[in-house]
């Protein structure tokens, strides 16, 4: 029987009639820049950083992680705003990340932004469990949405640098990132297909308050379904997961079903009724409280 993974990490407290967390703080996000970001991209404007605990110095990061570990947290997501070159300023945190991993025993996952070779080596030294990076497949989107002087080649090179240092990397694609339109996503798939990747996470543009996209309409579910199909066909051996970020309510109920219809391998924070829908479609549901990018694969026999 084919398996499907359902994830409910501690990024949110989560409970439906089908699935609920045992530990609401098993996996916690931390921002090394607080809510500061130089880019203030049109889809985020630093709003996502406000949900993360600020740890602006390596010492503060260690202190926070000690408290979290003491209270039952198993892993952290280290994130932050970007500098003007599209990189999260991680360099001064490498040693403290290593201590968090090796001394406190927490899983450490890092949002990187663009990665040059030096940063990849630093992340290797930090002994992180994995890197998360949004791959953008359109130069226009990089310029218009991120206001960044970079191209898709820079994202491709970032994957190459992470691969060269053998850092487990989980690329993310934001469907509809260009103001709700799907324009570079297929090229992002093509870029990703050229690298050694075990897991791809797909998320969907979620219009956030206080951003330039707060009134943007997310891509229609039918277009999302087409993209799910393309991803499945282009990357048949890669575990593909529908990640945390997607519009809520009825939209979410629709796309979660489409994820199952198009044979994706996992869903984070599934909508009410989706576990039953998976069972009705002959799938064996597996529940996990870990971050979807680095949990055992639904395509293997690891679980």
């Amino acid at each position: 029987m084919r398996k499907i993974n359902f994830y409910a990490p501690g990024l949110k407290r989560y409970e439906t009639s089908e699935l609920s967390q045992k530990n609401a703080h098993s996996f916690m996000p931390v921002s090394i820049t607080g809510s500061d970001c130089t880019l203030n991209c049109d889809h985020c404007n630093g709003e996502l950083l406000k949900f993360m605990r600020p740890a602006k110095t390596p010492e503060r990061l260690l202190q926070i992680c000690q408290t979290l570990a003491k209270n039952g947290t198993k892993g952290i997501l280290i994130s932050g705003g970007c500098d003007s070159a599209g990189r999260v300023p991680l360099r001064e945190f490498f040693d403290s990340m290593r201590m968090v991993k090796q001394t406190l025993g927490l899983n450490v996952i890092v949002h990187t932004g663009l990665v040059d070779r030096e940063m990849a080596k630093g992340l290797k030294h930090a002994d992180i469990d994995g890197a998360l990076i949004d791959i953008i497949g359109s130069d226009r989107t990089i310029k218009d949405v991120y206001h960044l002087d970079a191209t898709t080649l820079d994202y491709e090179q970032s994957l190459a640098n992470l691969n060269a240092c053998e850092i487990p990397v989980v690329p993310h694609i934001v469907i509809g990132l260009h103001y709700g339109k799907i324009i570079g996503e297929e090229n992002a798939l093509a870029i990703i297909s050229r690298f050694k990747i075990k897991t791809l996470v797909l998320v969907i543009l979620t219009p956030l308050l206080n951003t330039k996209m707060e009134n943007v309409i997310p891509p229609p579910p039918e277009e999302v379904k087409d993209f799910f199909r393309k991803a499945r066909n282009m990357l048949p051996d890669v575990q593909i997961i529908l990640g945390c970020a997607r519009p809520m309510g009825e939209y979410k109920e629709q796309v979660d079903k489409l994820a199952i219809d198009t044979a994706l391998n996992g869903i984070a924070f599934p909508a009410e009724g989706i576990v039953s829908y998976a069972r009705d479609n002959g799938l064996k549901p597996i529940f996990m409280e870990s971050c979807c990018g680095f949990a055992p694969s639904a395509m293997s026999n690891e679980q």
Partner: protein, 149 residues
């Protein structure tokens, strides 16, 4: 009024100590909403579902659900009774939960079957509310369940 930094909890309400729903007695009916502590922990409300008028709900069982930035889950009734009114304005504009938690952000009005019996485990009274709020704040901060410090 109980207060901790920018969070305040009016003294005249009854509070569910786990889920942070408030209950306000209005004659024989009970108006229900999410307190300011609960909405801060939940983040920005994005989607609300509520059972229709006429449904009977049991205390501690869901009368609806909330999807927010940091919370996806049920809204649990603080009292048993029949739903006699739902707030369509908050369903259309969930952010009222955040912007006006004790005013336009209410969820339902329940005709309570036995209010006096149902309130025994709800927090009430200025001193009790303040002590509970302080303890909850400390617990949530230690567990990192609030973003800000």
């Amino acid at each position: 009024m109980a207060k901790h930094e920018e969070i305040f909890l009016p003294d005249d309400l009854y509070y569910d100590r786990k889920d942070h729903l408030w209950a306000k007695l209005e004659g024989g009916k009970v108006r229900v909403g999410l307190d300011m502590f609960g909405q801060k922990a939940a983040g920005t409300a994005a989607y609300i579902k509520i059972l229709p008028v006429g449904k009977t709900v049991q205390k501690t069982r869901a009368f609806g659900s909330l999807e927010a930035g940091k919370y996806i889950g049920p809204l649990k009734a603080p009292v048993t009774g029949k739903i006699v009114e739902i707030n369509n304005e908050v369903i259309a504009n969930p952010r009222l939960v955040n912007t006006d938690p004790y005013g336009k952000g209410w969820f339902v009005i329940i005709e309570s079957a036995n209010f006096d019996n149902d309130i025994h485990d709800l927090v009430h009274g200025a001193e009790n509310i303040q002590a509970w709020l302080d303890a909850e704040y400390k617990d949530y901060m230690e567990k990192g369940l609030f973003a800000e410090e």
